[in-house]
Subunit: 270 residues, 2 copies
């Protein structure tokens, strides 16, 4: 199998995103190797040996996706046994022309604490942790958004993603069976923040499967119970005109970006 | 100010990473606008009006970073008022030549539930949530890594990042003052999993500042207390030969990727 290397003198997160997006267009399997913080000539020479070995072992020239700023290190990696792809270089000259300024590359420019929004993202993570699963209603005034839905409909991972990646202060609140003795009504604690509410729902069969992995053969996990809870919840969303999304076929990345698009909440990430 | 648009028929996460990495090389400020899920001709035409308006309002041609697969939608966005950058197109032809196969673009190929490791990442998030802050020692056999350190040294955000982005089952355990009545010793619950331990530390002044925001003028937040706890903790790391990192000048992205590089833990993310 051919190996794809993702190399950077920083985290290599951008090199991975770049290489992975490209390779995902091809109906091939690759062996993925990420090597961050290649900051010295010595380290670069070691990496080149690793690339050379991968070439010898597999008989296929490795692909090397990199975003290295240090000129010496870049030169060494570019002249190795792999096929080198540096997407920054290709676009910098055209952008310089358009912007009328020269690029001023600085190391650790992305994904570092020097990002303007770094502190905001960490505060949002702390907020999401402190306001997970309805534990802390008193902070809802501070929330940017409050995700609501039944147990295991995707609230917690989505809350964490919105906080970590986009700096959105996200709380989440679970509807439980106890809320549904009669018809599910919007709890007063939530009604006060109705404009911040966003609902999640999920197909009953998938919810049944997810809950069964957690508590097999329980009432909680039964298909009938899942159907009842979801029906009550979706009725509530429609009755109260709360925007909602069915998470069944979507990843947390997709759910999160759809929520931002629908609510108009602004990313805090640059 | 010039506007940078990040547009995709999927989440636009790749378009953002690509555009943001490029723009971060320039000593300029930009207005950032992300528009995901542009899947129809009608939506594309609306977006073009928005781009046109941004051009008229600012007098500066917007930059449009996109990764659109639908040919019609791509054509519309590419022919709009902005300057169009599609990094996929530039690299696909050379890669086809190297790989000897044609690209087979499919929509929602990255950041979707179709990623092979999606379920693993969600399980890791659930694990990190259930094993935050030393609440659940009985699961440590299942952990890939156990982060240790004093309160507010960065354990929780790092745990969540490792789980969410890389599918690493991460637990974390806090050392508290109670552990340090005499000399801080490695708790027995941790010693059994010593090869999984990774330490965090932080400069005392920053810790003092972070804790003061939480509980001003408390003993917990005092510089003296922070210095004592950190000294005990670092002594423990050295004595027990536990690898550790000082998080003071690093983002959670940098801490997480450094931990992976140092431990050799494999990303589960493709």
């Amino acid at each position: 199998m051919r190996t794809a290397f993702y190399i950077s003198d920083s985290t290599a997160i951008t090199a991975e995103a770049f290489g992975n997006a490209l390779l995902s267009l091809f109906p091939e399997e690759f062996n993925h190797v990420t090597i961050p913080f290649v900051e010295t000539v010595k380290k670069a020479q070691q990496i080149n040996k690793q690339i050379e070995k991968s070439f010898q072992d597999s008989g296929m020239r490795p692909l090397v996706f990199h975003t290295i700023l240090n000129a010496q290190v870049k030169e060494i990696i570019s002249s190795g046994a792999g096929i080198s792809y540096n997407f920054l270089d290709q676009f910098v000259a055209p952008l310089e022309k358009v912007l009328g300024v020269r690029a001023k590359p600085e190391k650790h420019r992305t994904h570092s604490i020097h990002e303007q929004t770094y502190a905001i993202r960490i505060q949002a993570v702390n907020f999401a942790m402190a306001n997970d699963d309805g534990v802390n209603l008193k902070n809802y005034g501070e929330a940017d958004i409050i995700l609501i839905g039944v147990s295991r409909s995707g609230k917690t991972p989505t809350s964490l993603y919105l906080a970590l990646q986009y700096g959105i202060k996200t709380a989440n609140y679970p509807f439980t069976e106890d809320d549904m003795v009669d018809v599910l009504k919007l709890p007063n604690a939530l009604r006060a923040y109705k404009e911040k509410l966003f609902g999640l729902t999920i197909d009953a069969k998938l919810l049944h499967q997810i809950r069964s992995e957690r508590r097999a053969n329980s009432r909680y996990a039964s298909l009938k119970q899942c159907q009842m809870e979801l029906k009550e919840t979706e009725n509530l969303y429609r009755r109260e005109k709360i925007p909602f999304i069915n998470s069944t076929r979507f990843s947390i990345e997709e759910i999160s970006t759809k929520i931002l698009a629908e609510t108009g909440l602004q990313r805090r990430k640059y």
